[in-house]
Each structure stands twice: as C-alpha cells, then as structure tokens.
Amino acid sequence: MRKSLTALAVCLSAIGLAAPAHAELTGTLQKIKESGSITVGHRESSVPFSYLDADQKPVGYAMDLCAKVVDAVKSELKMPNLQVKYQAVTSQNRIPLMQNGTIDLECGSTTNSVARQQQVGFSVHYFITSVRMAVRKDSGIKDIGDLNGKPVATTTGTTSDALIKQNEKGKHIDVKNIYGKDHADSFLMVESGRAAAFVMDDILLAGLIANSKNPSDFAIVGPSLRDEPYGVMLRKDDAPFKALVDKTLIGLMKSGEAEKLYTKWFMNPIPPRNVNLNFPMSPALKAAFASPSDKGVE
C-alpha cells in the first residue's frame, strides 16, 4: 500500500513538473516530444527526391530538406538527441500511414492536391513538376497533336493520366491509353515501341531517360499539360508543426540554400550510378522559391 502511494506521488509530481513544459505543445510536436522520436516517411525510388542509395539509405533532395526540418524540430523542442526514424512508404500507403501516426512527415514526391487536402496537410512547395511526354526521337512526335490515334502510356495510380483525357476533349485528339504498372514499366512501353509516348512528370521522365541504355534516343517534348507542386506531407490541421516546417523551408529558399541543394541533386552526378539529370530550375520553381505557396492543385 505504502509502495503504491509513493509511486502515485512520484507520478503526480512528474506530471506536475512536466506539464508546464508541454502546455503549449499540440499535435505532432507533442507526439514527438512525448515519444522522443520523429519518423520521416520516405520513398524507395523517387529519384532524385527520395530514394535508396547503394547502402539502402534514404537520400535525395526532399530528404536533405527534411533533414533541415528535423534540425529545426530538435532546436524548437530543445531535444538535441531526438531519435530520427525512417519509414519507407508507397503512393498507396503514405496517406493512411500519416493519418494513423506511423510517420510524422513525408518527404518524397507527393503532389499537393485539393483532394488530398481532405486527408492530410502540406508544407510550402519545394518543387514544381510539369506534366510532359517522353518520346523516341525517331518517332517524329513533337506535340500533343501528333499523338492522334497512337497508344500513349502512363502509370497506374498517378495523377497524370487524367490529362490525356482532358486533352482528348480539348484538342479533339483521340489516343489509346495504356497503363504500365510503374514508371519503369511505362517507359519500357515507349522503349519497346508499344507506346508512342509516356505522359508523366517531366522530372521523372528525365530520370528514366538518364538511366536508360541510350539516353540520346529519347526526348521530352510538348507543352506542359499541367504544373503540379510537391510539398512535404504533414498531418491535417496541425498548425504549429506546419508553421515550423514552413518557416524552415522558406528560410532555406530565401537564404539560397534550397537552390544549392537543388543544384546538388538535379545538376550534378547523383548516387547510386553517378548519373547527372541535367535538369535546370524551371521558371515555375524559381517563382515558387521567390513567393512560397501551399495552395493545392485541383
């Protein structure tokens, strides 16, 4: 009896001591403080945003940005020894894993869309991708109008395929939609001549082309069908954490550090195969760095 009373007293005093420090913390920051750890969700093959290097370690442009965010969390919570965990996610499970608390922030290549904002929150945008098409140079296809009647590949479960449909309406061209299981598959369809073009985020196309057997056989052509912004995915309605993430990212953009990271991942040889994507900053991204935004696309 006496023992349990002592234990109770210890507990009470612990709560009493701890409470003032916690008082203003809510949501993710509170969770991080209490668990003593932060879990970063990463992708396995979103080159060069978030992918596994030769040692199976998650690396990339988004991972570097998130490392800065983690540093900011450490100093905000005064927890220099905060444990950082990594959890691989896919485009199917990233949203449920965010909602159920498995991951605290997702650093990959996730488009900030209005539909997704029903489920999760997004930081300011750190990348703007344009949906364009990759073709074989010898196919003679230069524009969306040249696709009439041709098979066009896109990847199952990504947002880009709707654009073909929208453009079908707009420009009265009729394409045969075919679907690859993943980006590598869709690209293989173009490489093997099953599809005339692969419509996808231009940065992903650049990555696939850079890693193909003969990069000079392929070209990215046509107008941008749509611009899609990438943001760090957060839990919904978690203003204090979002404010911290945004403040960190905007700081990096203003100081020029974000641009340095961009150059490191998009204009230089990157692991694991030391391929250079040669993908200069687009005007849209420069604008996004100059005036950061978290407005999702429809």
Binding site: S91, Q92, I95, P96, Q99, N100, G101, A115, R116, Q118, Q119, V120, P151, T156, G157, T158, T159, D161, A162, K165, Q166, I178, Y179, G180, K181, D185, L188, S192, G193, R194, R235, K236, D237
Partner: protein, 244 residues
C-alpha cells in the same frame, strides 16, 4: 486516427465523365471477363495435359511433366511480363509489331493467366485419374474399349468428381490471381482500385469496397461449383461419401 470518412465520393463524377462507382463496376466486368476466359483456357488445356501425363505413352508424359514443371515454378507476374514484353521481341519483327500494337491486351492476359493455371489444373486432373484403382482401366480394356474410351467413359467421369473440390479452389484462385493482370495494362478491379485511391485519397472506403467485391466473386464461384458438386454426386462412389 483522424480519417475523413466520405462514402458519397462513389457518386461523384471523375475526370472522364463517369462516376467512381461506375469505375468499380467496369473493373468488376474486366476482372470477371479475364477470369472466366482464363478459367476456360486453363480447364481445357489442364485437362488435356493431365490426361497426357497418365497415358502409357512416355513422350506424352514427358511433354506434360515438362509443361507443369515450367509453368508451376515461375511466378505468375513474371510469366505475364514474359508474354507481354519478352515474347514480342523474340518472334519475327512483323508479328512482334502486331503483338505490340494490334493484339488486344486482354488476349495476352488470358493466355498468361490461363497457361499458368492450366499447369495447376493438370496436376489435379492427373492426381484424380491416378487415384482410381488400376483395375478400372484394365476392366475397360477387357470390355473392348480403346484407351481413349476408357478415359471418356470410365476414368474421367470419376476422376473429375474426385478432384472437383480442388478445382473449386482453383476457380476461386483465378479470380484473385487476375488482380496481377493490372501489370499488363488490363483495367480490372485492382487497377481501378489504384486509380481511385490516387484520384480521391479515400483509401479506406475503396479498400473495403474492393475487398468485398473480390470476396463476392470468389464466393459466388464457390457456391456455383458446390452446386455442381452436389448435382453430379453419384451415391456409392468414392466421392459420394461426403454430405447427404
């Protein structure tokens, strides 16, 4: 977990003018078509191979055994990729281009899934025939039946009854395995599932619906074949002992 439930999205219009529930229905249609067509291929070819493997002709047995070894030991998704990506590059250019540009994808999918399942059905048909006492064949031959007639009138009618429960499992499996054909561009249920997640992010609702849909397909198949099993039961035969 702070999930935003919304069952109404199924009635919202998607980019292509259809509603999301219509995507699910169209996926169900493709799943059913691919599965039933593959099942037909698999039953036919599987039966032929199964019979071949029980004949006294050594080379027929060898062909059947090789087929089963080959198709049972390669994962289904790899087989589909072989048919889809590799075979068109191995055949003469003209046929390859025709396969890549004109041949409907469902043919590739049905061939892939059908040939894979045929190997499994061949194994079952063979074990059904081998389960019969050897005397049945001898008795048939003694009555003046040809080898083929002993199959047609004596052995197969019993063998099929014996393996019907195993064939029921296989028929249910084919519906579940058909999900893999999304990888070769079939717009079936699993494909629509992935598309709807991407478009709406309502992961839980659509997962529940698609799970139930697959369950229903397999379950209907199960009930149908259970009915066949009951109707074809012959009292007094080995397979007639279960149930009343």
């Amino acid at each position: 977990m702070n999930y935003h439930w919304d069952w109404q999205f199924f009635f919202q219009e998607a980019d292509d003018g259809l509603k999301y529930y219509e995507w699910v229905i169209s996926g169900l249609g493709w799943t059913t078509a691919v599965s039933l067509a593959s099942l037909a291929v698999a039953l036919l070819l599987g039966s032929v191979l199964g019979v071949m493997r029980t004949t006294p002709k050594r080379w027929l047995v060898a062909v059947g055994d090789t087929y089963v070894d080959l198709f049972r030991n390669i994962p289904l998704i790899v087989q589909l990729f072989l048919w889809f990506f590799v075979v068109p590059e191995l055949v003469p250019d003209k046929i390859g281009i025709w396969m890549k540009q004109d041949l409907p994808y469902i043919v590739t999918a049905v061939v892939g899934l059908g040939l894979y399942t045929a190997a499994r059905i061949a194994e079952q048909v063979k074990s059904g025939i081998n389960a019969l006492p050897r005397g049945q064949r001898f008795a048939g031959l003694a009555l003046g039946f040809t080898e083929w007639q002993t199959y047609r009138y004596v052995r197969l009618p019993m063998a099929y009854r014996i393996v019907l429960p195993a064939l029921t499992s296989e028929s249910m499996n084919i519906f579940k395995n058909s999900a893999v054909t999304y990888a070769v561009g079939i717009l079936e249920l699993y494909f629509q599932y992935k598309q709807i997640i991407e478009k709406t992010s309502q992961v839980l609702e659509i997962t529940i619906v698609v799970t139930l849909a697959y369950f229903m397909l397999a379950f209907v198949m199960n009930r149908m074949l259970a009915f066949v099993e009951k109707r074809t039961r012959v009292p007094g035969l080995i397979s007639g002992t279960g149930g009343k």
